[in-house]
Amino acid sequence: MAEFVAGISVVCFAASYAVALACEALRPALRSGVRGIAMLGFAAAGLLAHTLFLVWRAATEPSIPLSSPFDWYLLAAWLLAAGSLWLTITQPRTPVGLFVLPVVLMLVGAAQLSSRQPFPQSPATQIWGAIHGMFNLAASVAVLLGAVAGGMWLIQAGRLARKRAPVQGFRMPSLERLAHVTSRTPGIAAWTAAAGFVSGIVLNAVNRQRGLLETVPWNDPVVVRMAAVVVWLVTADALVHAARRRAEGPRAAAWLALASAAVLSASMLWGVFGATRHGMPPPASPAAASSGPATAGHEDSP
């Protein structure tokens, strides 16, 4: 059994999600029950493999479980994949997977490009590191869910404005339900992102004060872009709140949700490809430094 679980790779569940997405895309053309069962089967198989993969990594990694950028992206993907599967089961007529699974696959792709090295942590700052990671994870998932709902709102509103009957096998959720999501996710995203940012500052300050691990300079790109993301999300939430009692409110919320996802994606890309001191190991001693080349760091969580 252990051998089987150890043999599960990212490709296994990514391929399952991709096949499930293809089945979902065939929904308007192929209305056979077999398509739905195949879609559910591949999505469930992907989620199972994904879960086993994360459990295996958590159990076998010598450091704190799931504390690398790679794991962080896979956790975010897992949350969205699980939500997608649950919605597909509870609302089989809605093509949720068509909107959520591409995001899941993008997160898996980002994970593949990210470092698998765990963030170095000391026992003294471990709890702050976990809080920082969890809040950032919650913020990112909230932003991505909001964007999915926002995209669906715009498609549904476009269909209703053109006065077209829904395409067979492609029934979208109501505007009311989608607006409910797009109006709430900005608040959740803004406050969890702010909490993630603040906990990151505390973590950095503790490290700096105690001289424990490598501290991140306050002008490090990751600090700047995280601050920018938080400022954007708080602004977006304020705008959504201001438009709440206006007829244009739901449309504005939908566009702002998509814009937030674009800002987050840009931040993630910067994280994947940009240089930073965030998450780097403690400075090596002069003797160690002379024995090996210094490497540029990658940071991956937003």
Binding site: R31, S32, G33, Q156, R159, L160, A161, K163, R164, A165, P166, Q168, G169, M172, P173, S174, L175, E176, R177, H180, A243, R244, R245, R246, A247, E248, G249, P250, R251
Partner: protein, 424 residues
């Protein structure tokens, strides 16, 4: 086995004659009792709806299904009509065409509204009535079971019945439900007392609408309609106030000018605090100024908009026809194969019986010659004989089954009868 069908539908029988030909449940039971007396040993199922009257009959080789002329005369007699009136308008089918027709009918392919699902319940009811009146049998039983299976497959494997085609159902299911998730917390306002208002309200009620207000220029009419539909009567002079609180408006007045002008709506709009408003303007001429539909948060649909959606849905149903017909064909072939195979049962029985008789006689002779054999040995020998007979019989039975798929295997049956000297 023979099958016969005589019947008429909205396409072939004029409405006045269809009304006189139609059978109520009691009349159907009475007709089936007569059928039993008139055609003993035959099976019969009578399907009578507002759009069709069809009598399905089945018979065995020794008592074949009645002729079409006899069935026409029977139907005329049951309804007190002149058979010569029915002759030219009733259609007749035999054998496989009967099965194909019933399967298509059950799947809604022969209905006035293509793919409508009510016909399936009516087919089931006709079958139940025949069972209760003891005119159903194994052949019609298999045929009606097959019809239900074909209808179920058409419903699940094609999109034939999924798209709505009536204006009120499209208005509620395809448009209002696209805006609102639920209706039990929404305020519905009916303006006017047009015919389509009640029908639309029925769909809204099914979707959960509870809070319904009716306003009409004639207050008495609003009160009367509200009492009939379980709604609250409102005052027409308070229309603006009602529009402020409404979430969904169904308008069906007979007014020649717009009842809700752009100016009136602009005054209302600011007090609505951005809540979305769905307007189903089912009046001709329109009750709402069409420019209202361009305002943010307003989803305005006129009769023409909804009719266009209905037409699109109808075309969509039509596009499903080839797939639905393919299922009907497949199920028909399957049923006919089973039916033909079933018709070979008597010959197979005689063949088995003949072989078994010969085998038993040979065994008895053998056991008399070998009296020292123990019971266990005798059983072993008996089983070996049975296995031998079964293996020899297997190829001809498989050939019969395969031949049954493409029709009644008369040639093979005759050959078997002659080869093994099987009497009819």
């Amino acid at each position: 086995m023979t099958l016969a069908l005589v019947g008429g539908t909205h396409r072939t029988v004029p409405l006045d004659l269809r009304e006189r030909l139609a059978f109520s449940a009691e009349q159907t039971a009475d007709a089936l009792a007569r059928f039993r007396d008139r055609f003993p040993g035959r099976e019969g199922v009578l399907l009578s709806t507002c759009n069709r009257v069809e009598l399905y009959a089945a018979g065995a080789p020794d008592a074949p299904a009645p002729d079409a002329a006899d069935i026409v005369a029977f139907l005329a007699e049951c309804r007190g009509l002149d058979a010569t009136q029915l002759e030219p308008v009733l259609s007749r089918e035999r054998d496989e065409a009967v099965v194909r027709h019933l399967f298509a009918v059950a799947a809604g392919l022969d209905s006035m509204v293509l793919g409508e699902p009510q016909i399936l319940a009516q087919v089931k009811q006709a079958w139940t009535l025949a069972q209760e009146n003891r005119t159903a049998g194994p052949v019609t039983g298999g045929m009606f079971q097959g019809a239900l299976r074909a209808a179920k497959r058409v419903a699940t494997e094609t999109g034939l019945g999924r798209q709505r085609v009536s204006i009120p159902s499209v208005a509620v299911a395809d448009f209002a439900s696209g805006v609102f998730e639920r209706f039990d917390d929404k305020r519905v306002l009916l303006i006017g007392a047009g015919k389509m208002a009640a029908e639309t309200l029925r769909y809204l009620r099914e979707a959960g609408a509870r809070d319904v207000t009716i306003v009409n220029r004639t207050a008495g009419r609003a009160v009367e309609l509200a009492a009939r539909l379980g709604a609250r009567p409102g005052r027409f002079d308070r229309l603006a106030a009602e529009l402020v609180t409404a979430d969904l408006v169904v308008s069906t007045t007979g007014a020649s000018d717009p009842v809700v002008t752009l100016d009136l709506f602009a005054a209302v709009e600011t007090r609505r605090e951005g809540r979305p408003l769905v307007v189903l303007d089912l009046a001709v001429p329109r009750d709402f100024d069409p420019r209202i539909g361009t305002r943010s948060g307003v989803w305005l649909y006129s009769v023409d908009d909804l009719a266009a959606a209905c037409d699109a849905n109808r075309r969509s149903r039509q596009r499903e026809m080839p797939a639905a017909l393919a299922i009907v064909d497949e199920e028909t072939r399957r049923f006919m194969g089973d039916l033909h195979h079933r018709s070979t049962a008597p010959v197979i029985e005689r063949l088995r019986a003949g072989w078994s008789e010969t085998g038993d006689a040979e065994l008895e002779r053998l056991f008399r010659r070998l009296p020292h054999l123990a019971d266990a040995d005798r059983d072993e020998i008996r089983q070996a004989f049975d296995r031998y007979a079964a293996k020899l019989l297997h190829p001809p039975l498989v050939s019969l089954r395969d031949e049954s798929r493409s029709g009644s295997p008369h040639g093979l049956l005759d050959a078997l009868k002659r080869l093994f000297d099987l009497d009819d």
